[in-house]
Symmetry: C2
Subunit: 218 residues, 2 copies
């Protein structure tokens, strides 16, 4: 059994590994967890002893299969709770994260299985991120950052990269959300912004925003 702190490290390393492919550096973990590199070194040693990850001094860490399964399980809980909060308790997609950060540490296999059933076995959370199954398998859907689309390409919004309240509330204000149809009408080379049509409405979107919206091309 892992402490909340250990679980947070495991989850963070899993997320970092998903984008980096090589060993995860002490500094990267420290930055993500808003802690110090020396604290990370301490924890890494402990998690290495517990067979969660492989660690060689000065060379970053890699999760073991056991570590990956553990991480997927925490993420599964996090995302199921997010679905619960939005679907049953009237939370908005920008409010769920911090509560789910707490709920993900509740220990009870029955609880999470029953919650999954109660919610109708959802496949993804309110931000479009896939929910791992009980064995830790994470179904990956085909998606592209809006910023990588070419002129006249189109598709459906299926996820976001940045899940901060600020960004999500911005999207709400622009009426951009999961399931919306998006078409790139033009790209502006000067500032790499996009002219897009979202559910029939034309608007300009900055490169920074386009870099945080996932599209399933059609």
């Amino acid at each position: 059994m892992f402490s909340q702190s250990e679980e947070n490290y495991i989850k963070t390393i899993y997320h970092l590994a998903a984008i980096s492919d090589k060993g995860i550096s002490t500094n990267a973990i420290a930055k993500k967890l808003e802690t110090k590199a020396s604290s990370v070194t301490d924890m890494i040693k402990k998690l290495s002893d517990k067979k969660v990850l492989v660690y060689k001094k000065y060379q970053g860490v890699t999760l073991t299969d056991f570590g990956k399964r553990t991480a997927a399980n925490i993420i599964r809980k996090h995302r199921l709770w997010e679905v619960f909060l939005v679907q049953k308790l009237n939370f908005t997609w920008d409010e769920v994260h911090e509560v789910a950060e707490q709920l993900e540490h509740i220990k009870s296999p029955k609880l999470i299985d029953e919650l999954d059933a109660f919610l109708g076995y959802p496949k993804s959370d309110p931000h479009g991120d896939p929910i791992p199954d009980k064995d830790g398998n994470l179904p990956q859907i085909q998606k592209s950052l809006l910023s990588t689309l070419e002129k006249s390409e189109k598709g459906v919004c299926v996820g976001v990269n940045d899940t901060s309240s600020e960004f999500l509330r911005f999207l709400d204000k622009q009426e951009i959300g999961l399931g919306k149809n998006i078409e790139v009408l033009d790209k502006e080379p000067f500032d790499d912004s996009f002219l897009v049509k979202i559910n029939g409405k034309e608007m300009t979107i900055s490169n920074k925003v386009a870099n945080n919206i996932y599209i399933q091309k059609s």
Copy 2:
């Protein structure tokens, strides 16, 4: 804001105060929390500094109004989660306690208000214990221990004193539960056991069991 450990002390002192009326002793707290008296002394000092309780050396503790409100709020969360687990996630009344012990520490006012609404503002938990309102008021229903009833008195089972899985599963086996009609047919002076009729069925109940069942007399 209080740590989980602080919350557990506050809740425990509140429960002990409900049955004792005078100051709660260090030893009583230690026993209930399965810890050592010296640890209790440490924590008591901290909670006294935080204005949760009043403490004078060697004289036990009393919760302040602030402490009582804090305790009621924790208990409110605990009991609402228990209702959720039974009503929505197919938990039985003997399974809910330990999960609710974890869930009661989740910090989010919106979460608990929405949960309350989602459950239809329940008045009591699966064991018949009343749920405090948002201001910490705890409605007390009129109830008597089955063991205090006289021959030919009757009523409805509205609660249990012992909420251990062992006792609750025993009640399930005997088909005794909240809402059942109970009538005392006879009392046996030899071992203080009871001959009762429960929903039409006659059975003998030991004094120990009768001491843990609450009846609303009719």
